[in-house]
Amino acid sequence: MSAANPPDSFLRRYVFSLDHKTIGLQYTITSLFFLLGGFCLMALMRWQLAYPGQPLPYLGKLFGENAMPGGVMQPEFYNQLGAMHGTIMVFLGVVPLAVGGFGNYLIPLQVGARDMAFPKLNMLSYWIYLCGGILMLAGFAMPGGAAQSGWTSYPPLADLATSGQTIWLLAMVFVITSSLFGSINFIVTIVQLRAKGMEFFRLPFFIHAQLVTAFLLLLAFPPLEAASVLQLMDRLAGTSFFLPTGLVVSGEKLAVAGGGSPLLWQHLFWFLAHPEVYVLILPAMGIITEVIATNTRKPVWNYRLLVYSVLFLGFMSFTVWAHHMFMTGMGTGMSTFFQITTMIISIPSIVVLTCIVMSLWGASIRFTVPMLFALAFLPMFGIGGLTGLPLGLSASDIYLHDSYYVVGHFHYVVAPGTLFALFAGIYHWYPKATGRQMNATLGKIHFWGSIIAINGVFMPMFIQGIAGLSRRLYDPTIYAHGRVIQPLNVFISISAWTLGLFQLPFIYNFFASLKRGEKALENPWASTTLEWAAPSPPPHGNFESAPVVYRSPYEYSVPGAATDFSPQWRAEA
């Protein structure tokens, strides 16, 4: 099938499509559903945390006698919800949306290509992801329920857990395989398929961010895939990769060979999962840079420094993983090394934020809906980054490790951070993908409701952590210090449910605007990067004629130019 002729049959066009835009939208829709699902699991947990041991009215009975007898949540079910919330949000929600959705849709358009380098591999990557996602959810149908050892799945607990853990591991193998296929495709497309004149330093920052992300996925995921297979062998084939000698479980000596190491899993897991943090954050930084450049009508401040910073960030992200393990009995020399790398990695993050904020100076800021979300990313990511400081220093980490402070910290990075950037991206590129605008009033209701509610969710978690509350507690009122601060849990839960309500305008807006939204031309935001040269929505093959690139990506308000934006594809300024 050539890129010039779109396929005729419905199946080839909308379901088993090879077109990067269809695949990108498939990723987007699927991952949005997973995000909603992951959110609902959390909303359910928040009932138990706010009102421990009380029956959930009406809804509680739907979950059956095993999970919630009489509407009262069981600790096993709570742990399943916790493990699956984390797994779904990270591996099936945010990464597929940021990388699979935005990356697939925008990379060929922004580099000026007709499609991805390997369209069939691209389609395969989506379908493997979907299978992995469905398999992951199927864990809930297993005897004993879904995986319940946390999204981190530390052995020996995970080795000994019910069969839901086996499903979790199998699903992870699918999801990781899908990511590997995707990352190869991204790298080859960005390196090989750039339009004429698209030099490395003319690429939009979003592309640099996706390129670094693709390398992180390619290099960091295989260790976890291997580790998942090892844990699978421990569970199914009787090996002891992660089981030491002499385990006694419930008073019975465990009949295993032993000789394994529980810490080996933690090293393999965090060797992936710390770069994974940057897989979540780099595409978000890419998106907000595009949105902010467009809406400030001004070139991004120090674009080259921005690019060097993400390259450095990507490299350094492989050297910090053991700061998740300061409490495992690590020696002083080791912990010093990982503290130094952790301090170093904060520097490029500060530089990226500085470049973006300095871009506001001398700008003419349009407060569009995507711009509101992009601007909100900055202080939210700032809080997430700053609260990493007491966790990154081993002395203060002694107290804060595994407390709610950690939960608050990483959620600030990923939820009001990355997720807000992804919302910015959806509002920003919706007219490109559909040919229609989303409603701005509904968008502003969505924004203001979400930003207030989400801070109501995560800000009190820092107080809980400082007050000494451990994370992953089914009933925090077991502890005296938990009982005293229990009102915070009620406040957080109400904020979380309010946050859910404020997503309804977004969901309505997303679908209703497909038909009723204001029509958009090919460049509704008066933007400069190549995707805006294509029609909205872009046809099969993207561009009517092969684009040629004449200048850097963010040439706004060039003195003497005809308009306040000088697109990359226009020969004259």
């Binding site: 020996p156 409490m327 002083t332 904020v357 800021i365 202080p379 220093l393 595994d402 507690l473 308000s557």
Partner: protein
Amino acid sequence: MDESAYGYWLPPDASAHGPQIDHLLGFLHIFMALIFFGWAAFFVYCLIRFRARANHAATYAPVRAAFIKYAEGTIIAVELLLLFGVSMPIWLRYKQARPDEAQALHLRVVAEQYAWNIHYPGRDKKFGKASVEAMNGDNPLGLDPDDAAGKDDIVTINQLHIPVNTPVIIDISSKDVIHGFNIPALRVKQDAIPGQLSTLWFTATQTGHFELACAQLCGLGHYRMRGDVYIDSPADYAKWEQENAPAVPAPEQK
């Protein structure tokens, strides 16, 4: 358990090394607040001053801002100072200063789903022999009943009694999965990892009743893996030790 000791900030601090950690936490949060609010003021100022409006256009040339380098340089310098000047010395003073065995109380803690087994060596300061094979419901630590050193050992579940102002050394391990030995009021935390012996130490500086919590998800009972920590005056501790010493006669009295 007295709830009045707790509130919306750090719990009471009953350990010798704890105040250093508390000061570090306090200093860090002031530093973070300064950066955040300083930055936010600049951010909000930009949003207001450079909003799109009639007769206002963006400037193409990037702003020259030398102060950025100084601001970033200052942040990096403070981070390095925090790491090498504050955090590492606290960590080293605490982690490298293993108390003198002769003056310290040496305990073993063996975690399991979902309890803390606490093993006191007794008056002879020698732990009885223990083995995995001998572990059962009545003998959670697998102590050898024939070992003379174990005759006077005290074993408790979830009840940690320690004397005030005495260095305490605890060897921590686990029988099954990873647990997290966490006493917020003493500012101590250590993963209890099966197959690995980890050691921590502290000196309690005030008497009282505090909580031992599990910090690491260890299964469905993780939330209720709670223990009591009693920091006793020397007299109270001696009394407790006497009352709980096993009824078996000590070997030399045979």
